[in-house]
């Protein structure tokens, strides 16, 4: 990763933080808990890093990293799958009479 790429990632980081800030302001309290759990599921995006570590292929032989990666994939998947399903259950409850 060269300095140019690092700076780009920093741009991306700053912009994403800003977008995240903008998105959340003025959410009704009712939705705080499901939103928290939905955001929590999104943070399972770390699964991509885990997959990279758990792969076996050119430049990635089987070693400690593979096992660590597999564990990470499993944990991140629990976070993702459990998170989205639980959020769906919660949000599904907010239905109106009609």
């Amino acid at each position: 990763m060269d300095t140019g790429a690092i700076l780009m990632l920093l741009y991306v980081f700053v912009l994403a933080c800003f977008a995240g800030y903008q998105l959340i302001s003025k959410v009704p309290p009712t939705l705080h808990t499901p939103l928290m759990s939905g955001a929590n599921a999104i943070s399972g995006i770390t699964i991509l890093g885990a997959m990279l570590a758990a792969r076996i292929g050119p430049g990635a032989p089987f070693n400690a990293s593979t096992i660590l990666g597999m564990l990470a994939v499993a944990l991140a998947t629990i976070n993702v799958v459990g998170g989205f399903m639980v959020t769906d259950r919660m949000m599904g409850m907010f239905k109106s009479k009609n």
């Binding site: 990632l9 770390t46 990470a72």
Partner: protein, 485 residues
């Protein structure tokens, strides 16, 4: 995009395709969070986020090309099954601890990704590539930070889980010199990180140092969270949730994946704001929550159970009789309703009263219960129509026109002394003006205190009647009386 991978070969079509997939999933995540912020679109927003995640995973497979995915698939299957079972089995009342636990898994995953990245570089003989070449310092710093944030998120979330599920006392545990201890537990791993860069030529040593960092920050996660009372856990979870986003973003910096950086920082930033909003609703500062100790001992404003004068009580039958004749009834639920799992009984009673011609409304305080929206979720579970739910601001001026208010397991959120008693720890927190109604029935098991352990002057009001007992039992008695009467 993945700079580590891309530097090992020329750019292929799959690299480009995968990266457009990532870009699309980032856009979908943003739209999803936007939709999740409105009641009407919340569910579809969550669905969109799930779709975005799927797209990201598929794109990652595309990017990796021809590999042996055995271990990945194994991880996905195990994790997917465990996650799905957990999500199906959990009860609505256990949502807070479930979120805490899932969050902890996310944090641990980031830690493991950090360690695995290190080992894979080691295995591939490219450690020096990372530490040595231009920009390597950046990867190294991020690796250490990933480990720290991920580990703190993990153990911190586990403690939050234990406290919320009452597998561990919710009381704050105050270690001596805890602030000094916490600072040390943060500074030492940072120093070890610097040392790791120093010993870069000795990969085994570096590996040991990294493991040491993880273990020490595991302890840090525990010592940060144990002094915080169980009731403050939702704020802690929200903060840890934000941390798990930051950990994912840092992992993204380490391996150079923009999609991790974007999604992670989206979660990190939105989690921070959510934490702030929650603290504000509780009239506390984040520092006040995080330094812990709240609720460790009864507050100055009066012991939880002591010195009440002139408290009147009523039994379930009396309450039923009076509600029978009321025109307008407002139900104010609190943490006790959640404890008693009384939401279905509440709904049943409300239906009977509606059939008898009364107007029923539910008044939900923003911090009633133990997590934001706690009451809304429970009432929604019991099929209470959304139209009958009112937020505090919408209904607070209208209590004076109400015949009967039924307080079900709420305490702090209906305490009038928050408006008058400057010495009370609740002072300044907006509360429901239930005492302005003609008659108030307060259902709880005793005169015991609420979360803040403050004397509640509502109980002494001339128009208030305590209805002692477990909320669900009391409600069932009322229902029986209403059906008979």
């Amino acid at each position: 995009m993945n700079f580590v991978a891309s530097s090992s070969g020329p750019l292929e079509w799959n690299y480009i395709a995968a990266n457009f997939g990532y870009l699309a999933s980032v856009v979908m995540f943003m739209l999803a969070i936007m939709r999740m912020g409105r009641v009407k679109t919340a569910r579809s927003g969550n669905f969109l986020a799930a779709a975005a995640m799927l797209l990201a995973v598929v794109s990652s497979f595309v990017e990796m090309g021809k590999i042996n995915p055995a271990f990945i698939v194994a991880g996905l299957i195990i994790g997917g099954a465990v996650g799905a079972i957990m999500a199906k089995r959990v009860q609505m009342t256990q949502m807070p601890e479930m979120v805490a636990l899932l969050n902890g898994f996310g944090g641990l995953a980031s830690t493991l990704v950090g360690l695995a990245t290190f080992y894979s570089l080691l295995g591939g003989g490219t450690l020096s590539m990372m530490m040595g070449r231009e920009g390597g310092w950046f990867g190294a710093i991020n690796l250490v930070l990933t480990l720290i944030v991920g580990s703190v998120t993990f153990t911190g979330s586990v403690i939050a889980f234990l406290k919320l599920s009452e597998k561990m006392s919710g009381r704050p545990i105050l270690l001596p010199m805890r602030h000094v201890l916490n600072v040390l537990l943060l500074v030492i791993p940072l120093a070890m990180g610097v040392a790791a860069v120093w010993f870069v030529s000795n990969p085994i040593l570096v590996g040991l140092i990294l493991i040491g960092i993880v273990l020490i920050t595991f302890i840090l996660g525990v010592t940060i969270v144990i002094p915080i009372g169980g009731g403050d856990m939702p704020v802690v979870i929200s903060l840890l949730n934000s941390y798990s986003g930051i950990a994912a973003a840092l992992a993204g910096f380490t391996i150079g994946e923009a999609v991790l950086v974007v999604s992670g920082s989206l979660v990190g930033a939105s989690g921070m704001i959510l934490t702030q909003i929650m603290c504000k609703a509780m009239n506390r500062s984040l520092a006040n929550v995080m330094f812990g100790g709240f609720g460790a001992e009864p507050a100055a404003g009066g012991g939880g159970g002591g010195e009440y004068v002139g408290v009147k009580a009523a039994d379930a039958e009396t309450a039923a009789m009076i509600m029978q004749d009321a025109q307008s009834i407002v139900i104010v639920p609190g943490y006790g309703m959640a404890v008693a799992q009384a939401q279905h009984a509440v709904r049943e009673m409300a239906k009977i009263l509606e059939d008898k011609g009364a107007s029923i409304r539910y008044a939900v305080h923003p911090v009633a219960g133990r997590m934001p929206g706690h009451m809304n979720v429970l009432l929604a579970e019991a099929n209470v129509p959304y139209e009958q739910l009112f937020e505090m601001d919408q209904i607070n001026d209208d209590f004076r026109n109400v015949d009967v208010v039924l307080v079900i397991g709420a305490n702090d959120t209906v305490n009038p002394s928050a408006k008058t008693d400057k010495t009370s720890p609740l002072f300044g927190m907006p509360v429901m003006n239930v005492e302005e109604a003609k008659t108030v029935f307060t259902m709880k098991r005793s005169l015991g205190g609420g979360f803040a352990q403050v004397k509640n002057t509502l109980f002494e009001c001339p128009n208030n009647y305590m209805v002692y007992g477990d909320a669900r039992k009391t409600l069932e008695e009322i229902i029986k009386a209403l059906k008979e009467g």
